[in-house]
Symmetry: C2
Subunit: 134 residues, 2 copies
C-alpha cells in the first residue's frame, strides 16, 4: 500500500487531488503517456485540463520525481523515478515492461572505447510480447 500524499511531500510538491491521481495512475500502470494520463484523470476530474497534466508532469520531472522515457517509434512515457532499469516495448500492442539488466559490462566497454564521463545509460528493446506472438 502506497501513500501518495507522503510521497509528494517528500519531493516538495504541494498535495492536490489532481497530483495524487497522477501519481496513483503512474504507480498502478508503471508507464503512461500524456494522453493516457489525461483520459484516465478525466473520469475522476471531468473538468481537468490538459494544461494541468503538462504543468504537473513538468513540475514532477523538475523535482526528479518523474522520468521521461523516449521510445523509438512511439510517444514518450513517464514513470516514477526508481532504481535504474531498462525497458521492453511491444511494437504490436504498445505495452511497456521494466526489466532489470546488468549493464555494467556494457558501460565499461563504452568507457574504455571513448573516454566520456558517462552519467546515464538508456536501454530500450523493441519486440513482440508473448501475448501478441500467440
Amino acid at each position: 500500500m502506497m501513500n501518495y500524499t507522503t510521497l509528494l511531500k517528500e519531493y516538495d510538491l504541494k498535495v492536490t487531488p489532481q497530483r495524487v491521481a497522477i501519481v496513483e495512475e503512474l504507480y498502478m500502470n508503471g508507464h503512461m503517456n500524456i494522453d493516457d494520463l489525461y483520459k484516465k484523470l478525466l473520469s475522476k476530474f471531468p473538468s481537468i485540463s490538459l494544461a494541468t497534466i503538462y504543468k504537473n508532469v513538468n513540475a514532477m520531472i523538475e523535482k526528479v520525481f518523474l522520468n521521461e522515457v523516449k521510445i523509438p517509434n512511439a510517444k514518450s512515457v513517464y514513470e516514477l523515478v526508481k532504481e535504474e532499469h531498462s525497458h521492453l516495448v511491444c511494437s504490436s500492442c504498445g505495452k511497456i515492461e521494466d526489466i532489470e539488466l546488468d549493464t555494467s559490462s556494457l558501460l565499461k566497454e563504452a568507457i574504455s572505447s571513448k573516454n566520456y564521463t558517462i552519467k546515464e545509460t538508456s536501454v530500450v528493446f523493441t519486440g513482440i510480447c508473448p501475448d501478441c506472438s500467440k
Copy 2:
C-alpha cells in the same frame, strides 16, 4: 568517396539536388536534427523550405534509408541506416558519437528474463565528452 546519387536510386528515391544534399550532409556529419539540416541546406538552396526537409526525411525513413534516433533531453537526430550501433551523447556540447558495442549478452539476458521476440536494441549513453571535461 561516396556516390549519393546511386545510393538514393538503390532505395527507390528519385534523385533531386535537395535529396543529394541531405544525404551528403548526413554522410559527412553522422547525425543531424531537422534544424541543423535546414540551416545547412539553406546556404546551398536559399529558397529551400522546411517542408521539403520534412517530406524528404520522412520519405527516406519510409524507405528504411534513414533512421530516427531519440535522445533523452534533446531533439531527435537522423542518420543513414547502417550496421547496428549505439550512441554516446555529450550533454554539455550536444555532440553525438557512434559506438560499436557488443550487446549480445544483454540481449540474451533480456530474452531469458521476459520471453519477447526482440527485434531492436537501442542503447544511448549520456555523459560529458573529453573536450568538455577539460
